[in-house]
């Protein structure tokens, strides 16, 4: 995970619209609002949960490495109502904080943040890590082009993670 932040004071200046977008994405995931969550994604997108921060997805297996088509399939599966590992959906609430812009290129901005997520299913499971949201400004508003999730326990073992992390 290489992140650069040339000016730490810029952290305070993350566009509130980007932060609001990330909060919205988090809430839709928490509340199992799968189709609304999917609608946030751009046409070209990657949803990636690697097993190590410096993993090369061409040689290392990841927990999740969805392109746009697979994001659609993942949501379609969750929407069947018989995705047993999320039937009923886990009760989820997450807190997202420590926003920093780590990259900006034309219409695309990458915002890094930390998260803590509490899952209640058979028992409480605590998840935490670092998000990298790559957000594209389009004519139709903000769209999610990438979401990378570096779990603190990416080295595993991790329990079933069929919800939207």
């Amino acid at each position: 995970m290489t992140e650069t932040l040339s000016d730490p004071s810029a952290a305070a200046l993350v566009d509130p619209a980007l932060v609001a977008f990330i909060y919205h994405e988090a809430r839709l995931a928490d509340e199992a609002r799968y189709s609304e969550w999917e609608a946030l994604w751009d046409d070209r997108a990657t949803y990636w949960v690697p097993m190590a921060p410096d993993a090369d997805p061409e040689t290392a297996v990841s927990y999740i490495n969805d392109n746009r088509a697979r994001i659609r399939s993942r949501v379609a599966q969750l929407n069947t109502g018989v995705r047993h590992s999320q039937t009923p959906p886990s009760v989820l609430r997450r807190t997202v904080s420590n926003f920093e812009v780590t990259d900006a290129d034309g219409d695309t901005v990458t915002v890094a943040s930390n998260f803590v997520l509490v899952e209640y299913r058979f028992a409480i499971t605590l998840w935490a890590g670092r998000y990298l949201h790559t957000i594209r400004r389009t004519e139709d508003g903000l769209r999610l082009a990438g979401k990378t999730v570096h779990l603190v326990n990416a080295g595993g073992p991790i329990p079933t993670m069929a919800f939207l992390i």
Partner: protein
């Protein structure tokens, strides 16, 4: 007989079970539910199956270069599998011989030696004790210490097709005897590689499941559950690769003996005579380099046949599952908790194919996989259900009357038959009763 409530005289075995107790838990068409939940059964499994028997430990391709090592656990004990400068892979206890500190604390790496952080004892990666700080403190006994305090090697270790197996018991049947006809499954897997070897180098997904390890393993050769456990995949993503209706497919299940079993799609694939049915019906034009390399070594017809029948779907007792282009192994943590490890099968040098295989593994397998996440959930619920003591038995009678014995084992042409499970449990009971420990023993 009650196992969980057992009181009375001291037990004869370390696990508190007497000879014949386990035999009584398994009948041809059913097993007692407590085989998944009972701590004494679990303790006996750790001894008979995971310590005395052969278990899969690592694949040689995980440590391709001299100095490469990976750390693993066998029956809960920490082990290192390291490739020495002589090219040999050794499975050694990951415990400093001085005071017991866990010597190597990374999942994997490369090092010519392991230095204990506690008092600085240093071991070469062939296990020999190469350095003891302040050696004068041992006076004239130092030579003896150095000679006798190398890392403890697994008492027995053998490989087949790059798969490294070990047993923590010095005496017993050979690996070849243990594997029996399951060697054919490994042969079928490596036949897909133009180089004759596969590469398990992409890392292992580590999935914590809240169910018994046997539930994880036997579910892999359960041809009955897919339409129900995995209904969401068929509804939302893609239909099953072959029909689940017995009259419409020649897919069969097989008890291969020795606890090994499989769902065998080869006959069905041959009937279809179509390549890559087992790989999402990939068009061969998408992987031209792989096709060229395979035809180079197998010839045009040989390559076609290899690509038609594809990899195995075979469970190798007790802890290895070759799931087409994935390998899964399990580590039991207790009667109700298991880590399932999964890695894709990569073909050396075939970057294009391997990239696809990685994405397929991520799609299907592991804690977020479209398939295995649901198996994990169903496994957890199974463990919760088994907390009910009645009925005492779980039923495995499906297809019992239609099983047929042939040269390959006991087969059933209905892939939803519980033939693999019956084979698993028969062998499991024989192993726990100590009936399979000697050469020539049959189960």
């Amino acid at each position: 007989m009650t196992v969980t409530d057992q009181a009375g005289p001291p037990a004869e075995t370390a696990a508190g079970l007497r000879p014949g107790d386990v035999r009584a838990l398994v009948q041809p068409d059913r097993v007692r539910g407590l085989v998944y939940t009972d701590p004494q059964v679990y303790d006996l499994e750790m001894r008979r199956i995971f310590r005395e028997g052969w278990v899969f430990v690592a694949h040689e391709s995980e440590v391709p270069e001299p100095g490469d090592y990976v750390t693993k656990r066998i029956a809960g004990e920490p082990y290192i599998a390291a490739r020495g400068k002589d090219g040999e892979v050794r499975v050694m206890a990951n415990r400093c011989t001085h005071r017991g500190n866990r010597l190597c604390n990374a999942d994997k790496g490369n090092s010519s030696s392991f230095r204990c952080p506690y008092h600085g004892w240093t071991f070469s990666n062939d296990g020999s004790l190469s350095g003891v700080p302040m050696r004068d403190g041992y006076a004239e006994r130092f030579g003896e210490i150095r000679a006798n305090l190398g890392l403890v090697q697994a008492p027995r270790q053998e490989s087949y097709g790059g798969f490294v197996f070990a047993s923590l018991e010095p005496e017993g049947i050979t690996l070849a005897e243990h594997l029996g006809s399951a060697r054919g499954a490994i042969d079928r897997l490596v036949a897909l590689s133009p180089t004759g070897s596969v590469q398990l180098s992409a890392g292992w997904m580590k999935h914590r499941m809240y169910c018994n390890w046997k539930m994880v393993m036997e579910n892999n050769v359960d041809g009955y559950h897919a339409l129900f456990t995995h209904q969401s995949v068929y509804d939302a993503v893609r239909p099953a690769k072959v029909s689940h209706v017995p009259s419409k497919t020649e897919t069969m299940v097989r008890d291969m003996g020795d606890g090994h079993s499989e769902i065998d799609y080869a006959t069905e694939y041959r009937r279809l005579d179509e390549e890559f049915v087992w790989y999402g019906r990939l068009k061969r034009e998408k992987v031209p380099d792989y096709i060229a390399a395979l035809e180079e070594t197998r010839g045009v017809e040989g390559a076609h046949d290899t690509l038609v029948i594809g990899p195995p779907h075979t469970l190798i007792f007790p802890n290895l599952f070759i799931a087409e282009m994935n390998v899964m192994t399990v580590e039991p943590l207790g009667p109700g908790e298991t880590i399932a490890y999964t890695t894709p099968v990569l073909i050396p040098g075939q970057r294009e194919l391997n990239s696809r295989t990685l994405r397929r593994t991520e799609g299907a397998m592991g804690p977020a996989g479209f398939l295995i996440a649901d198996d994990g959930e169903i496994g957890a619920r199974n463990q919760l259900g088994l907390a009910a003591r009645e009925p005492e038995w779980v039923t495995l009678s499906r297809g019992l009357e239609t099983d047929v014995t042939d040269a390959t084992g006991r087969i059933n042409k209905d892939k939803s038959a519980e033939t693999p499970q019956r084979g698993w449990w028969k062998h499991w009971a024989a192993v726990l009763e100590g009936e399979t420990a000697r050469s020539g023993a049959q189960s």
